[in-house]
Amino acid sequence: MEFIPIFADPNDKPLRGFYAVRFDDMSAKEDTWSLFIDEMSDPTFRRKFMKARQSKLLTNGYFGTYTVSDASERALEEFLDITDELRDAYSQDIKNLLKLLNQRFHPLVNTDTSSELLKSKAKPKRPKEPWVRLYAVKVSNDLYLFSGGAIKLVRYMDDDEATKKEKRNLERLRDGLKELGLYDQDAYTELEL
């Protein structure tokens, strides 16, 4: 398993920033961030995703009524918004990025079963219940590892294959950190943005 600097400088001391993960079964050109970008920016992927969930999730009134095209566009816009925001923060100063990550990522609870966000006292900047979610672990002060992103149209991660896959990625990452001797239970937190 390798850690790929995304919004980070590996020469920083102490280590800080936002890293992606290259799992052992990924090619040398892949990592969790590149796969996330490839999926979210692919209209074929988004359309297929929304079509598969259309009858259950896009027309039941919870989100209002969405056509597949408009649902796909909403996911694209959310993806562009969040990646722009992270990139802008990092380009100003890494401290801005870390502040943003600290504010916006919320701890996940009970990822072994149904997961629910801890209620945060801070007001979220993004609209309530954004569809595009980022998953990461915080392994030490100011050091985030991105395990993957998904479109989440359900309340609990166990309720949809896409978010179940992200749960598995979090587990893979945790196991990988343990193997490397990098798992510190006190510092380790699983997060969702």
Binding site: F3, K29, T83, D84, D184
Partner: protein, 174 residues
């Protein structure tokens, strides 16, 4: 604790890999010409919608009709192709659809708003003068004139705003 932190950093640094995925150029490219990127995405989506609705068409048939490879069709359906007008016209001719049709609703809002979710009602006069309502949830995006507009193929004659985001001063259908 200090020793553990030092050891942690040593192990972590030893496992830092090279960023070879070119992720940093792709979002930048998406950003440098965001309008063109969005246009590519929308055109790709409309073609995909057509292929979904017309089962006698597929990517292979489209490639043959356009005289291009299936790999090229696959590439532009991933929304990464900056379509030329000629290509768009050719696809429109082959599929007999309009890829760039825009139904604009102009909404005047503060400059700081880049996009806003709204509910749009599509009212059509049906048989026996019955009005059919179809409400959809769409995103309005800002253009270079700081106006919010929607590009889509639904015909609307009324704009209903999401009550939590009502900053509109004026709205009309175009």
């Amino acid at each position: 604790m200090k020793k553990d932190k030092k050891k942690f950093e040593e192990i972590f640094r030893a496992n830092i890999g090279e960023n070879t995925s070119q992720w940093d150029t792709r979002p930048a490219a998406m950003r440098d010409d965001r309008s063109a990127f969005r246009r590519s995405q929308r055109v790709a989506d409309r073609i995909l919608e057509f292929l979904d609705e017309n089962k006698d068409w597929n990517q292979k048939r489209l490639a043959e009709a356009l005289g291009v490879s299936t790999q090229y069709v696959s590439k532009f359906l991933k929304g990464r192709e900056n379509f030329t007008l000629n290509t768009i016209e050719q696809i429109e001719r082959v599929l007999n659809i309009n890829l760039l049709a825009e139904n604009q609703i102009q909404v005047v809002v503060p400059k700081t708003i880049q996009s806003i979710p709204v509910y749009l009602t599509d009212k059509r006069m049906g048989d026996n003068n019955i009005i059919y309502n179809s409400t959809v949830h769409v995103m309005l995006h800002s253009n270079e004139h700081d106006q919010l507009f929607y590009t889509g193929q639904t015909n609307f004659c009324e704009l209903l705003l999401d009550s939590t985001k009502n900053n509109t001063k004026q709205a009309f259908c175009g």
